[in-house]
């Protein structure tokens, strides 16, 4: 384990940012936090989590895929992909770090999504243990330990020091290259971990159970009569899908650039009515069906295809951002009750 005094945090960030772009949570001016590229004077935000998840770094909201030149009857196709440059994301929480595993199972499965892959290969994740998990946190329900986050490097913040431990070769290499780091005792983070654990034990959603969910409950849960009441007030705004670190659906669209056509992809939402609209009609015509699809995918379909791993990491963003206060916890509690 390595350590550095919190007084030297700026020096530490500057050293990382000297060779690659460093992203870290900063205040967003709206009482929340957002990831931003570090620059001189940037202040690391210790907010419980960023308003938007960290999935943007690997699966951005909008990205170009290919471009076309159309001339009469002729078409030329251009590969617009760019090799990603190395970058570091500092301060990723344990929940968001787990969300990358969930996205990996989709995007890195054959045939590999090369847009996503190149960012994964070039991105280094430095996670930060959650000193102040909040009442909307329930990552432990999905087996995530907020006191011991994953990532290439795990970090803990004590009152005076930042403690760092490498989990991968890539992480090890970065820590070795940072000469200002000092060696720390292997148990240096123990008190911090214990303090976090005592908060986790008292969180209101601590007892949330996943036992009623999983791939083997497919038909039983799909046909539950509780979906109607649960979805009744859903506005279909899709906010939950956009703030969700594991939502992975996308649309592919073209636009006329004036001198050609750019094909891009952008996040899409199964909560929208035209998501499944096709020539022969729409397979999900009601908001209940769309609402059910979102939660069935996270709690049943995804685990069914991925050895029981749920498609939720308990970050609580959907609880905080839903305009009608609906969220996955209410869904889970209602369905199992």
């Amino acid at each position: 384990m390595k350590k550095i005094s919190l007084n030297k945090l700026d020096e530490f960030f500057a050293a990382i940012a000297a060779s690659q772009t460093l992203y870290l949570p900063v205040e967003d001016g709206r009482k929340g936090a957002k990831f931003d590229a570090w620059k001189e004077g940037a202040v690391y935000s210790t907010a419980a989590n960023t308003s938007r998840s960290a999935k943007d770094f690997f699966f951005p909201q909008v990205e170009d895929m290919a471009s076309f030149k159309v001339d009469g009857k002729e078409i030329e196709v251009y590969d617009t992909r760019k090799e990603s440059e190395d970058f570091v994301v500092f301060g990723v929480r344990a929940c968001d770090a787990k969300s990358f595993d969930i996205l990996d199972s989709v995007y890195l499965a054959d045939p590999v999504d090369s847009y996503y892959e190149t960012r994964r290969q070039h991105g280094l994740i430095m996670t930060m243990a959650c000193n102040k998990p909040t009442e909307t946190c329930f990552c432990s329900a999905f087996g995530i330990d907020a006191a011991n986050p994953a990532g290439d490097i795990s970090c803990w913040m004590t009152d005076s020091e930042l403690l760092l431990e490498a989990n991968t070769e890539k992480g090890e290499a970065l820590l070795n290259a940072l000469s200002m780091l000092e060696d720390a005792d292997a148990s240096a983070a123990d008190d911090t971990k214990a303090a976090i654990q005592s908060i986790l034990d008292k969180l209101p959603l601590k007892g949330l159970s996943t036992e009623s969910f999983g791939g083997d409950k497919l038909m039983e849960l799909f046909h539950s009569d509780k979906w109607n009441a649960l979805s009744e007030s859903c506005l279909g705004c899709g906010t939950c899908t956009f703030v969700c670190p594991t939502c992975q659906c996308y649309d592919i669209r073209d636009y006329d650039t004036g001198h050609g056509v750019m094909r891009y992809r952008c996040w899409d939402s199964c909560m929208y009515s035209d998501f499944t609209l096709c020539a022969h009609g729409n397979t999900r015509t009601t908001q209940m069906q769309r609402f059910r699809q979102r939660f069935m995918h996270k709690l049943v379909y995804y685990p069914g295809n991925n050895n029981g791993v749920f498609g939720c990491v308990g970050c609580g963003r959907c609880m905080r951002s839903c305009p009608i206060s609906m969220n996955i916890v209410k869904v889970m509690k209602t369905l199992e009750g």
Partner: protein, 275 residues
């Protein structure tokens, strides 16, 4: 960087056939004049007109056709309307093949086959029918039941009459929804026609058509004594990526684009009925 399946190749439309008032069949080859890729009957390809859109279409030609691929496309939206306005020589983009296809080299081998198609639903089955006709020694007899709204809406009518109806091992029964001048064949909907014809129960069935036709035909087949496990269908859902990632064609734990589009009805029975 590795090759990216989402980036399409250029294809050239070398022939356009007006099959029905709203269905055209397009012949497509690569820029080198050869087939863009090989496929299994029942597999699909993503065709696009840059700036207009991209869509999944079944490959209607048989893989035994070594020269080109064909797509029978019904005009029903933005992209398909554009495709219908094309002239020979027009380039489009193409990527694929996608999906599982029909099990022509496994479960269907050696079997007597019954094809039931409604309207444009013939397109994916035509690939199998011509594959089976070209490899007769591997399959039993073929019975085709095909129906459309009117005689003018029967896709591939010339091929059906000139080639399928004259093929010794193939029995063809046609029907149209309503009586029409000049039509002396059967009149009536496909589900009831199938029940009247009482096809041989030992046949493996491949069915494709509008969802409502499939539903009632399957009910009829079950009444006749067919098992769900001997009936295959191929599905159509909205798709964007075609490789099981974008989430649109997800039904239960399946993605129609990669786990389908071909399913047996006993497999579909284990999925939510969102299709």
């Amino acid at each position: 960087m590795r090759e990216e399946t989402l980036i399409p190749k250029v294809g050239v439309v070398t022939d356009i056939r007006q099959d029905t008032p709203d269905v055209k069949t397009f012949r497509v080859v690569g820029l080198d004049g050869k087939k863009v890729f090989e496929h299994i009957p029942g597999q699909c390809a993503m065709l696009s007109v840059p700036g207009v859109g991209e869509g999944m279409f079944s490959i209607t030609s048989s893989p035994t056709n070594t020269e080109f691929m064909e797509f029978s496309i019904k005009k029903c939206g933005c992209l398909t309307s554009w495709l219908h306005m094309m002239e020979v020589g027009q380039q489009i983009t193409i990527r694929g093949p996608y999906g599982n296809g029909f099990p022509v080299e496994s479960a269907l081998k050696g079997k007597d086959l019954l094809f039931i198609a409604g309207g444009i639903g013939l397109a994916p089955l035509r690939s199998v029918i011509n594959y089976v006709r070209d490899k007769k020694e591997n399959y039993g007899s073929v019975h085709i039941i095909y129906g459309s709204r009117s005689a003018d809406d029967l896709v591939d009518y010339k091929e059906i009459i000139d080639e399928w109806c004259t093929d010794a091992g193939v029995k063809v029964d046609l029907t149209i929804d309503r009586p029409q001048e000049g039509w002396d064949g059967h009149v009536g909907f496909i589900p009831s026609f199938v029940e009247e014809l009482k096809p041989d129960l030992s046949r493996t069935v491949l069915i494709c058509g509008p969802p409502i036709m499939i539903k009632f035909t399957l009910d009829g087949l079950k009444k006749l004594g067919f098992q769900e496990s001997q009936v295959y269908t191929t599905m159509e859902l909205r798709m964007k990526c075609a490789i099981g990632k974008c989430g649109r064609c997800n039904i239960g734990n399946k993605y129609v684009c990669k786990d389908g589009p071909v399913f047996r009805f006993d497999q579909l029975a284990e999925l939510p009925d969102e299709y």
